[in-house]
């Protein structure tokens, strides 16, 4: 692995933070104004035209290294789009709500509990996790089950490195991820019938695959709240909802854990949810996807098996019927 910093950008080239914030706020204002007027008959949104809300900005730079596991040949999705188009239903079910509502999520103090089939239950402080391994720049494609996709420059290290610190027992066949939930901070539960906290899970070999990323940042900075601060996982060959956000606990189990979307719609959201253009979602085809940030006439593209990561992960599913185990 190469150890070293990416080349320094001359400071004259760096957009001053306040100018950048102004740029973001202006774009957000315009979009808010446009969407407000589009919902012209919805008076409740009119107020935002006159006083746009400022979303929480993470801003803190992270020291990162290059990674051989990064994806090349893709155009990165803009920071603006990655941080303002989110599915984070605890903060509201509309795509623009997490950026507006996630400001109340306090990311310090933060711990991750290790429970279940391990030698010894442990608790890790977030700052200890940040120092466990060098933080890598990993660009991954991100494919939502809703048939849109992004290309995101995440920052983190392989989850396997962390799992090794957890001392799982040989009986541990699955890992469950539990996300933060506090109804006083995440006040939008009434918009859906989901029971919280958000739960996701992986088979042990999926969790130990080097691609599975314990993620702390994006674009070289600490994760914004709406993207799953302060720590999340990213599993790039599965639909995005498998990449649990704002994780507070890992549970090692000998049985497949219940997962939130599988509970909500067992015929729509399988435990595996590998990106697979040959297996349709019951309500839409998964053969194509829309790339976020492209103009509407140029968005559609072909979906790749395992989101293009088949070389690294296909062997995990040898002999499995991926239509039954969707």
């Amino acid at each position: 692995m190469l150890i070293g910093k990416p080349p320094d950008i001359p400071s004259s080239e760096i957009t001053p933070q306040d100018q950048y914030n102004q740029y973001l706020n202006r774009r957000r204002f315009l979009r808010t104004a446009a969407s407000t007027a589009v919902a012209a008959l919805g008076v409740e949104r009119l107020a935002e035209v006159f006083s746009p809300r400022i979303a929480a900005q993470a801003g803190t730079k992270l020291q990162t290294v290059k990674s051989p596991l990064t994806t090349t040949g893709e155009q990165l999705t803009s920071f603006e789009d990655i941080t303002h188009y989110n599915n984070f239903y605890e903060f509201g079910v509309e795509k623009d709500q997490p950026a507006k509502n996630a400001g109340g999520l306090l990311t310090r103090p933060w711990t991750v509990r290790i429970e279940g089939k391990v030698k010894q239950p442990k608790t890790f402080d977030i700052d200890a996790l940040l120092k466990l391994r060098p933080l890598e720049d990993r660009v991954y494609r991100h494919r939502c089950v809703e048939a849109w996709s992004m290309v995101i420059p995440w920052v983190g290290y392989s989850l396997s490195e962390f799992i090794n610190q957890c001392d799982p027992l040989p009986s541990a066949k699955y890992v469950q991820f539990l996300s933060y939930y506090d109804k006083h901070v995440e006040k939008w539960a009434g918009q859906s019938t989901i029971s919280w906290p958000y739960s996701e899970g992986l088979r042990m070999d999926e969790a130990m695959n080097p691609l599975t990323l314990l993620t702390f940042g994006l674009y070289g900075e600490v994760l914004p709240n709406q993207d799953g601060a302060p720590v999340r996982i990213v599993v790039p060959w599965k639909y995005g909802f498998k990449s649990a956000k704002s994780i507070v606990a890992l549970r090692f189990l000998d049985k497949q854990p219940p997962t939130t979307w599988n509970d909500q719609g067992p015929s729509e959201y399988g435990f595996y949810s590998n990106v697979n253009p040959n297996v349709d979602h019951p309500r839409w085809s998964q053969k194509t996807e829309r790339r976020i940030g492209q103009p509407f006439y140029a968005q559609r593209r072909t979906t790749l098996m395992f989101n293009g990561y088949g070389d690294q992960v296909a062997s995990l599913y040898n002999g499995m019927d991926l239509r039954r185990n969707f």
């Binding site: 774009r27 315009l30 979009r31 446009a34 969407s35 007027a37 589009v38 919902a39 012209a40 008959l41 603006e80 789009d81 303002h84 188009y85 239903y89 079910v93 509309e94 795509k95 849109w148 009434g190 918009q191 859906s192 019938t193 989901i194 909500q264 719609g265 729509e268 349709d280 019951p282 309500r283 839409w284 085809s285 829309r290 976020i292 940030g293 492209q294 103009p295 509407f296 006439y297 968005q299 559609r300």
Partner: protein, 203 residues
């Protein structure tokens, strides 16, 4: 009502109805339709359709509240046709940006994806209503037949709301507001008729 007032109200209504389209066009020109412009266009046209349909369905119950609100009927056709206009834009968005004009894709979707079945059904129900919206058609059909045909708008609105429920993820409750408003407006009709009969009997 003064003729000038009516003209003013009509102009305002036209502008209000064209407003969502105007914003979409502006957004398209400036590439400012958000991160997922296809989704933005889809939701904007779909919401406009449902909202205009709902408003047009509010006219008759409102008129029955007072004889002085009779003039509202002059706006019902305008709102209904604009609802059909946005429904057509919504359908064309699907055809162009989701199905890529591919007939096989569309046939499969309509057969297999129940929310698309409901959506296409809603549009097909609105089509004869739009086609018979002209004064000529009203005369040709005669008031009684025309009224019976146009009761299909209730079914179209219900299909539209079902389309919305079947489109969102299981457990998401966003269509609830629209559903409740529509339920009230549909219930208003039999309730008002019942109240009329009671008044007539009491007299």
């Amino acid at each position: 009502m003064k003729r000038s007032t009516l003209i003013l109200l009509k102009v305002f209504t036209w502008l209000a109805c064209l407003w969502p389209l105007g914003l979409l066009l502006l957004g398209a020109i400036n590439n400012n339709l958000g991160a997922d412009p296809t989704a933005t266009i889809t939701f904007a046209t779909g919401l406009a359709t449902l909202r205009l349909l709902t408003i047009s369905l509010a006219i008759t119950p409102l008129r029955r509240l007072s004889p002085r609100l009779g003039w509202l009927i002059k706006f019902r056709r305008l709102l209904g046709l604009f609802a059909f206009f946005y429904a057509t834009l919504h359908l064309l968005t699907y055809v162009a940006l989701y199905a890529g004009f591919d007939v096989n894709t569309m046939a499969t979707d309509i057969a297999k994806r129940r929310y698309i079945t409901a959506g296409v059904a809603a549009w097909l129900l609105l089509l004869p209503l739009a086609a018979t919206s002209t004064n000529w058609a009203i005369r040709k059909l005669g008031g009684k037949r025309w009224n019976r045909l146009h009761k299909l708008v209730y079914l179209a609105a219900v299909c539209g709301v079902i389309h919305y429920w079947w489109q969102v993820k299981p457990g998401v409750l966003t269509p609830m507001t629209m559903t409740l408003i529509l339920a009230v407006l549909l219930a208003a009709r039999p309730i008002q008729a019942w109240m009329q009969r009671r008044k007539a009997r009491a007299a």
